[in-house]
């Protein structure tokens, strides 16, 4: 931009410094190549991100796919009423939030700890080996992963968890892990960590490379121990990344995912495994009640919006890094 203004002053017409609309069009003409290049992407964003918002209107209709927009029957807030009045809604919301918090906290802590540990390893080959092993599960689809997990947890002969625990005399008889509701959140949390911890460390490891090595050297000369260096240099260095990621994840807190809960859920643990997405699938999409599904989507968006903006505002108040 600065270059731009310099050339402007040099050109004879610009000396007059036109203002308002005139200036706008002038600038536009001068930047027409740039504008032309960005136009497709603006259209793309508009078509794929803003036009679909129009679809929100079906949350207020008794939507029938074969009818046109103007033939739809408008029912106001009935879908929202059904959603909030349903007995299971509170339970489903509780599960969603609980699983989201578990996932968020566990995910953050384990990824940061693993990243710090990896950072301290000096044998590069070993470091790469651990890194590769830990992020491999990320590439397994949840369908396969859920099969692996439920096989490992089964009470049959291939259920390795029960076998090991029996062998260690921690339990006396095999436990039907997926059949006890209370265990589900824990199982889900551990599964998520197993699947994504390696992947999540990547961004932290990248952030650590940005920390000036001179700081470590200075600290070492000052006699800081390894633990102190982690605490006083690495962690503060990571703080901006952690806060940004936290804000972004808070915005998505109601998106606890759908696959693991759906694939590992069953009648016995449904009280704890059923989340908002599964509720929407059952009572919305699979019944052709797209209006309800949309209403739930709007609810989620509103919650996400509030969380995102409030966490961002808090970060701002505290003078920390923030999203916008």
């Amino acid at each position: 931009m600065r270059n731009e203004t310099v050339t402007t002053e040099a050109s004879p017409q610009a000396v007059l410094q036109p203002t308002g609309i005139k200036r706008f069009f002038k600038l536009m003409m001068r930047q027409k190549a740039l504008l032309a290049m960005s136009l497709p992407f603006v259209i793309w964003v508009f078509v794929f991100k803003y036009v679909p918002l129009w679809g929100w209107t079906i949350a207020f209709q008794h939507y029938r796919p074969n009818l046109g927009m103007f033939q739809q029957e408008w029912i106001g807030l009935d879908q929202f009423r059904f959603l909030f009045a349903d007995d299971s809604f509170i339970r489903v919301l509780r599960n969603t939030i609980a699983m989201a918090v578990i996932k968020l906290v566990l995910g953050f802590v384990t990824a940061i700890v693993l990243a710090i540990l990896l950072n301290e390893i000096r044998i590069i080959v070993f470091k790469r080996f651990v890194q590769t092993i830990s992020y491999l599960p990320h590439f397994i689809s949840w369908v396969v992963a859920a099969n692996l997990i439920s096989t490992a947890l089964s009470i049959d002969e291939d259920g390795i968890i029960n076998k090991v625990l029996m062998w260690l005399h921690i339990i006396n008889e095999p436990v039907l892990w997926l059949g006890v509701g209370h265990y589900f959140w824990g199982i889900l949390g551990i599964s998520e960590v197993w699947k994504d911890v390696g992947w999540n460390t990547i961004v932290y490891l990248a952030a650590m490379t940005m920390i000036d090595p001179a700081q470590y050297e200075a600290a070492e000369i000052d006699g800081a121990s390894r633990f102190q260096r982690i605490l006083r240099i690495t962690l503060p260095g990571l703080k901006p990344v952690i806060i940004i990621l936290l804000i972004m994840n808070l915005g998505n807190i109601l998106e606890t995912g759908f696959e693991p809960q759906y694939l590992m859920g069953n009648g016995m643990n449904a009280d704890f495994s059923e989340n908002l997405e599964i509720f929407v699938l059952k009572y919305g999409i699979s019944m052709g009640n797209f209006s309800l599904a949309t209403a739930a989507g709007i609810f989620k968006t509103v919650v996400s919006f509030i969380l995102l903006f409030s966490s961002n505002a808090i970060a701002k108040r505290m003078g920390e890094e923030r999203l916008f």
Binding site: S154, I155, D156, L176, L178, G267, M268, A270, M287
Partner: protein, 576 residues
């Protein structure tokens, strides 16, 4: 510099991709539009000739397009197959047969959006969309004028085929002609038991649930060290029938879904809160406490369930044959007949007549129709009519005499072992044309019987079924003194509304919400009931009933009563 180059490169790639996408679209359009165009001259000529009192059939060669969404096989011209060639000789009509690649709904959606259809269309599950889009032409007048054979085959079913406006838009595939011939092997639900159990105790006759479990218990006790599973079930996703539906069958009813329907009053009854369900779960609770029940039944997914049965260590289970077919095929591959299963019609008490076999029913939500894009519906309906001549039905299902089947001196059709083998070979089936013709066309329903008493469907002919049984099959059939596996079951009574589960319930209606809610409650309480200590059973049952009765059971039953009455009226009402 590098950045600039990169951006130019990516732009180029994006552009080429867009262009390629456009051009492939164009190709698709042009090829599909040229086909009807090339046939246009000949079809233009035909109406005039057919209008004149037609002493001679119009045999000018013509090619139509047919998109068949029911199966995914290679595209072909119908006259490239032996059957198609014969039919072309009779009618002069050739079909360009097309099949979906990928998602049917997307393909049909595209057709609707463009308004460009093939001449003939079998849209499978997307048929509602096609009807909504009014893409089929009404067939009533065409059939009246040109379809004597169509009238003969489909006449009895006109009431069910008519849409709300009184028109017939498509021809379904299940119009039974002659006596109904049930399948000789079990295709429905049953209590399965491993053959070694029966063998060990000299093939006893099993009628009741108690006898069934007693036998399993006796066998398991005698083979303690073998790590056997007495009985397993599946409750996964929508596959919950293995545990939900059993009480209905045990009480002597066929599979009507969530309800049993009284034969006299035609009133429906939710059985999930009835004594029959209590009795079934109590029995499972009992065998669970004897260590015979597979505890992981309620957490296993479908793959784990199939793997379990495939292992050959499960002595018994209740399910529908099509659900466990893969596992049973795996066991057959081992060649060990002892590990194979026998399907039994088990009921609660000696005096209950079992009704496992599906009564003859007419599936009226699948079919083939002529679209608004068709150039010459008259030639097409004549082709359809010609197909429905009995000799052509024989050719389409059985093939050619001396090549694909034989006829003995009593006029019975049969197949030599080589012919049976050849019928299992895909390449042969495609060459002869069975793959392309024996379904998804106007046809006799597969349970039909020909006028000479032979079965229309090859595998339903007792002689063929007999010949395809293994040694083990024959052995166990002879032990029970029956010809086929379905002979072990009682003949199905006539139930005009059957199957109640296929009656469409309005999307998102209270009845549908009830179905989902009751499923949730059942899925929560059934495991508790089965896995509980015996003395806790009654307490949990009361709790379950309390939860269940919070739902609108009466409302659902009333809705079903109405729908069943409608269907009965449609099925039995005089054709008008």
């Amino acid at each position: 510099m590098v950045g600039k180059k990169l951006s130019i490169l990516s732009l180029t790639i994006a552009l080429t991709a867009t262009l390629a996408a456009c051009s492939s679209n164009n190709n698709g359009n042009s090829s599909s539009s040229t086909t009807p165009a090339s046939t246009a001259p000949s079809s233009d000529a035909s109406p005039s000739s057919s209008a004149s009192a037609e002493p001679k059939e119009d045999l000018t060669p013509v090619t139509f397009t047919y998109f068949n969404a029911n199966s995914q096989v290679p595209d072909i011209d119908s006259n490239q197959t032996e059957i198609g060639k014969k039919l072309e000789e009779q009618t002069g009509v050739n079909f360009k047969l097309q099949f979906p690649v990928g998602d049917v709904n997307t393909k049909i959606g595209t057709m609707i959006a463009s308004g460009d259809y093939p001449d003939v269309l079998a849209p499978d599950t997307a048929i509602d969309k096609i009807l909504d889009a009014k893409a089929f032409i009404p067939l009533n007048d065409l059939i009246d004028q040109y379809g004597p054979n169509i009238k003969k085959v489909y006449g009895p079913y006109y009431n069910q085929m008519k849409q709300a406006d009184g028109n017939i838009y498509f021809l379904p595939f299940s119009a039974v002609v002659g006596d109904y011939q049930p399948a000789p092997t079990i295709e429905q639900g049953a209590f399965f038991i491993q053959r070694r159990v029966l063998k060990e105790f000299g093939y006893p006759k099993i009628k009741t649930l108690d006898e069934y479990f007693d036998l399993i218990k006796k066998y398991n006790d005698a083979h303690k060290g073998d790590d056997l599973t007495g009985f397993t079930s599946l409750t996964y996703d929508w596959r919950t029938m293995g545990i939900f539906n059993a009480p209905m069958h045990l009480a002597g009813y066929p599979n009507d879904g969530d309800v049993i329907v009284d034969m006299q009053t035609h009133k429906s009854d939710i059985y999930s809160d009835d004594d029959s369900t209590k009795r079934w779960l109590k029995k499972l609770n009992e065998i669970n406490n004897e260590g015979l029940y597979d505890k992981s039944s309620f957490v296993n997914n479908y793959d784990q369930y199939l793997a379990k049965i495939s292992s050959g260590k499960v002595l018994g289970f209740f399910d529908y044959e099509w659900e466990v077919d893969q596992a049973i095929q795996n066991i057959r591959k081992t060649g060990n007949d002892d590990l194979d299963y026998l399907a039994l019609p088990v009921v609660f008490d000696q005096d209950i007549k079992d009704q496992y076999l599906d009564p003859n029913s007419f599936v009226d939500n699948r079919g083939v129709g002529i679209t608004t894009s068709a150039k010459d519906p008259v030639r097409i309906i004549k082709y359809f009519d010609n197909m429905l001549k009995e000799e052509n039905q024989v050719m389409i299902q059985w093939g050619f005499k001396g090549e694909n089947y034989e006829v003995d001196d009593k006029g019975r059709f049969y197949q030599t072992p080589e012919e049976i083998e050849a019928r299992k070979d895909n390449a042969t089936n495609q060459k002869v044309g069975f793959t392309y013709f024996n379904y998804s066309w106007p046809m006799y329903g597969l349970g039909s019987t020909l006028s000479d008493g032979n079965s229309l469907a090859v595998n339903r002919q007792p002689e063929v079924a007999q010949a395809s049984f293994t040694e083990g099959d024959k052995n166990i059939l002879s032990k029970y003194g029956v010809q086929t596996f379905s002979d072990l079951f009682a003949k199905p009574d006539d139930r005009p509304w059957y199957p109640a589960w296929s009656i469409a319930i309005e999307q998102g209606s209270p009845a549908q919400i009830f179905q989902q809610k009751s499923k949730d409650v059942k899925l929560k309480y059934f495991p508790k009931l089965v896995l509980a200590k015996p003395d806790q059973f009654d307490g949990i049952w009361d709790e379950y009933i309390k939860e269940f009765s919070k739902l609108d059971v009466k409302g659902f039953e009333t809705t079903m009563d109405g729908l069943i009455a409608d269907k009965i009226a449609k099925v039995t009402g005089s054709s008008n």
